[in-house]
Symmetry: C2
Subunit: 113 residues, 2 copies
């Protein structure tokens, strides 16, 4: 996965486990694309301090995913649902109702995740 | 939701964020249904200590859900997938292909969660 998408997903899932201070700095650098120097001035800490904080946040977010794996689980669900979506459209266009068995099977697969 | 189901789900999602010690005690009391006294003897701590530990674990697990809401999100997904599952079966039995639009709509709804 591209790093920016990965970071967004991880932050989306686990960001609330960071402190407010961490969240603010992380968002400014990673999502608002402010420079380390800008954020350092704004927060009254060193540039290196901002850099270290970002690394610590990334490490924490990755650590949560390693332990819980919920981003992965959601991604998997979403891909399967996209497949159901596609199949339902195909079934509607082609009238091939055999596809419905596939939809049922994929549903079962998701329910078992 | 029944408390035992809620506890199981919360533990299932966030249990890995507890320490090994907490996990062991929590599992023994909540899932193995051992008495506080039994676990206290086994762990060499007081009965009150076991009791407090369980409360702390429950509080931590609930705290994670309050912050992240991932159990809720998954429950919601699962209910919608169950509905797709049911509709696909109905469509296959009745031949009413209008149902396919509903399946597509629900898929979109899940994808937007």
């Amino acid at each position: 996965m591209e790093e920016i998408i990965e970071n967004t997903l991880l932050y989306d899932f686990y960001g609330e486990l960071l402190t407010d201070h961490q969240k603010r700095i992380y968002e400014d650098v990673v999502f608002q694309d402010l420079s380390l120097t800008e954020v350092a001035e704004q927060e009254g800490i060193s540039r290196q301090g901002v850099h270290d904080m970002i690394r610590r946040c990334e490490k924490a977010l990755r650590g949560y995913e390693e332990k819980l794996g919920l981003v992965h689980k959601f991604q998997e669900t979403r891909e399967l649902v996209a497949e159901i979506h596609r199949l339902a459209g195909e079934c509607r266009r082609t009238g091939d109702t055999e596809i419905l068995r596939q939809i049922e099977q994929i549903s079962e697969q998701i329910e078992a995740l």
